[in-house]
Symmetry: C2
Subunit: 526 residues, 2 copies
């Protein structure tokens, strides 16, 4: 049994704090810089690599990170997780999202159900349903094919699936895998649902209601919104809706839906993209085969995360460098910067996955910790970000570690050659240039044009953003977050911090308020 | 003449550092909290208010902020700016974006041109052009009306206009002001242009090429991309393109464009939404009258920013509370959280406007400063954010000040009543609840369910997100950023930090690399 200890109780952490700091600007100069780029690289799945040459680490620090991984028993804890221990202690739940895409360890049986079989069964059921929709066997009441799928969900039922859809939309169109357009309704702001519905041919739309509990206020409200719209269009809502929910939810056996596809309490919302939550919408949009390829990439990457050797475990290396930056070097944020327009909402997904998992001040036993935990995560795609907030990243007063992502090839393949290079080459040239600019800086007598460098980054590179690559990318970050949570001794799988706001919002709506809460309610005319 | 001094040389700042800290949780409790909500409120333009009750300030601190404003001569510096002093000292330029929407002070003449007349003249020219497009007097070669406008630009030529378009799209549709759909191409990633073009009927599209210098690599590349697409569709590109640029740019007098609309060096990209950069696309999308209303809201808000009394100057109050939070309380980031789906990209615009302006380590004379400057800015609309990163905001180990925005009414007006309240009421109830939850927290013996509170926020409230309200909102933040830059003694109007990356990217493309830069180029196959 792995032992759960606070970070500051680990001898390896105290040893790490005493490691000699690496002067990034110096080690990245000249031939040594080139050597680091070649050596500080770990293979990922789907022909990708994680390269940490431009991080402020060296052999001594990597060695200490390995010792920290060992003492914190990170891979043992991961093993316990995928073998079905109750890792989400607060809610007394297993944590099984890796099982949705592969069998890493032992058979996991809960409540008499083989969970891997359960997840595979749901995927198969979704695949059959999607194939029938695509074949015109499941249609609207007039027997016409559905042309659009609209996901109704919020948080993990929105951010991950939306980011994955956008990541593969153009790839699918370019490769003949595009089946139908997907749209997303999430916000309780009525203008979200109304705006999306204004742009959808509801008579040929199929809606997916996604709520694990079947009680999410925003999602149920938006369901009613959609049902109203269908009714006004003279349509039978129950012929246009499916549900993704848990078997025990009020939505599970309702005649309001064409069909229902199940997830369970062992899949956290922010880790649900590879479950039915992502599966239904992505299988409808791109076909079940594409979704299977996405799962395959994630499963292969998960396998790498079981490796005890930090130099062969990209997620663990990434996680521990992050802990070093956060708890030793004192950096408070990480920017996620994919040089890929298709990944435009990937940073927003990671923002949830990371900040909701590790933005906590108590350990897994409910005791306050004496160290900082999850950083702020934000980001936009490059090169757009270069023309936005990179000024602060280069010359601001705080150092912000950077996570780049880049692909050698575009998804669509249409390109233009200007001034001797294609747009794809320009894109890649920019990310290469940025890494070096951040690490090495530039001297200048004019201090306004001076770059002090020493700003650390890593990059994940790939051949092309395919379904497999996307799955591997998703798995990498999910597992990075998991390893960081283990290292900080947090329960990364609950989210008690979202409860208080819900309770107070109910009070406002019930006009059960006084003091400041009443005053703000008055201010907003509620 | 105002005197430019570093923040740490101001007596009022040192006095502020010694102010007694406010215990937010205590002052926001009970009747005192309600009293604060009523009193700590400043009228803005367009029926909006800036409310700072939930900020960690009291009369003593506000008094010290006023003294800081006075000693730093903030309104005097603003006056110098709008009267045409060379405030952008690094680039030796005036800073005149407020003049695009009103005459605040004296007539400003540069190079013999009355600049206010120049900006108004361009607006009129744009209005005439847009009216002719809408009337079918300017058409494609076949005499058919244009139905889509596509903006090609990056950074300030993209983020602001895109955020403003999205902010008003549904309002315009609901009020009969919608003229044509707008799309945006920004990234040098070829999949951005290819993806957008795949969704556009190019035969009926008019493209706006936006580049002040006429030399922005991404924008010129994407122009070629678009020209290729037009050519392939058998169309004459010059009949489908207009330019927004400076009079001295190579694009200004080119026969490649139907027409050209001018800006000048006195409008920074990130402050250009109210110039021709925003004017062309917004006037085409919504009509010139809507754009004029947007300018009117901004002009009215600018006027408030001239007030020396901090209690009547919402942008200055917001700015100085931010400086207090950054330089005295030590908070490193600000989250922008609009409870309005229409403002989905407003945080991304502010991210550029703020971080590119004040993410600097040298003062306006090029001397390193001894204090922290611009914070990280990030955000997503509520209630979506509640289901994403709010966990960290509530229970994370770092405190992140919050900027809420909320409107009493939706834009479209379609709503649904569930459990006794409309979606709009739920939206507003949530923002009211969040402010109190962050400020007051909640005791709980279970430390996992404990909220320590003391997390500061302010809120801007309005009746509805109209063009006037949007203009006022934009002006508020532009002026907040300006006042913070003055307080930190920065030049907020240049961006030298973006140059090094450009230089190195050119080297990569010319294969003029060695060391790490060559190694990264190899890694990315350039």
């Amino acid at each position: 049994m792995a032992e759960w200890k606070n970070l500051d109780k680990l001898a390896a952490f105290n040893d790490l704090k005493n490691a000699k700091a690496v002067k990034l600007k110096e080690v990245m100069a000249g031939d040594n810089g080139a050597k680091r780029v070649k050596e500080y690289s770990i293979d990922m799945a789907a022909d990708m690599t994680y390269n940490y040459a431009a991080k402020a680490v060296d052999e001594e620090i990597i060695d200490k990170l390995q010792k920290l991984a060992d003492e914190a028993e990170l891979t043992e804890k991961f093993e316990a997780l995928y073998n079905g221990e109750v890792i989400n202690t607060g809610e007394k739940r297993l944590v099984l999202h890796q099982l949705t895409r592969g069998q890493l360890g032992n058979k996991v049986v809960a409540d008499g159900v083989d969970k891997r079989e359960f997840y595979v069964g749901v995927q198969k059921k979704i695949a059959d349903f999607a194939n029938k929709v695509h074949a015109g066997e499941i249609t609207n009441a007039k027997g016409e094919k559905f042309t659009t799928v609209v996901q109704i969900g919020i948080g993990g039922s929105d951010l991950g699936p939306r980011a994955m859809y956008l990541a593969l939309e153009n790839w699918a169109k370019a490769t003949g895998n595009f089946k139908m357009e997907a749209k997303f309704i999430s916000n309780v702001d009525p203008d979200d649902a109304a705006g999306v519905l204004n742009g959808v041919d509801v008579a040929h739309a199929i809606f997916i209601l996604v709520s694990k509990s079947g009680t999410t206020l925003e999602t149920l409200t938006n369901e009613s919104f959609v049902k109203d719209a269908l009714k006004k269009a003279g349509l039978d809502a129950s012929k246009h809706m499916i549900a993704v929910t848990s078997e025990t939810s009020p939505l599970a056996k309702s005649s309001d839906y064409l069909d229902a596809f199940f997830m369970d309490d062992f899949i956290g919302g922010r880790f649900s993209s590879t479950s039915a939550v992502g599966g239904a919408v992505l299988s409808l949009a791109f076909g079940p085969e594409v979704f299977a390829r996405f799962l395959d990439g994630a499963a292969k990457e998960d396998k790498l995360a079981t490796n005890k050797d930090i130099k062969k475990n990209p997620a663990m290396m990434d996680a521990l460098i992050g802990v070093y930056e956060r708890n030793v070097l004192g950096f408070g944020a990480t920017a996620v910067l994919p040089y890929s327009q298709a990944l435009s909402r990937f940073p927003a997904h990671l923002q949830q996955a990371d900040m909701e998992s590790n933005g906590k001040s108590v350990n897994r036993f409910g005791e306050p910790v004496n160290y900082v935990t999850g950083p702020i995560i934000f980001g936009e795609p490059g090169t757009n970000g270069q023309h936005s907030f990179y000024q602060l990243l280069h010359q601001g007063t705080d150092i912000i570690p950077l996570q780049f992502v880049g692909f050698k090839n575009s998804q669509i393949g249409t390109d233009v050659n200007i001034q001797g290079s294609t747009s794809q080459q320009k894109l890649c040239a920019n990310v290469a240039a940025q890494i070096v600019a951040f690490a090495c800086g530039k001297d200048d007598e004019n201090k306004n044009k001076y770059f002090d460098g020493g700003r650390p980054s890593s990059i994940i590179t790939g051949e092309k953003l395919t379904p497999e690559a996307l799955g591997a990318l998703l798995s990498h970050f999910e597992n990075k977050i998991m390893f960081q949570g283990f290292t900080w001794n947090l329960n990364s799988f609950d989210q008690e911090g979202v409860q208080l706001g819900k309770v107070l919002a109910k009070k406002v709506l019930a006009h059960d308020t006084d003091g400041a809460l009443k005053a703000y309610s008055d201010l907003l005319n509620i």
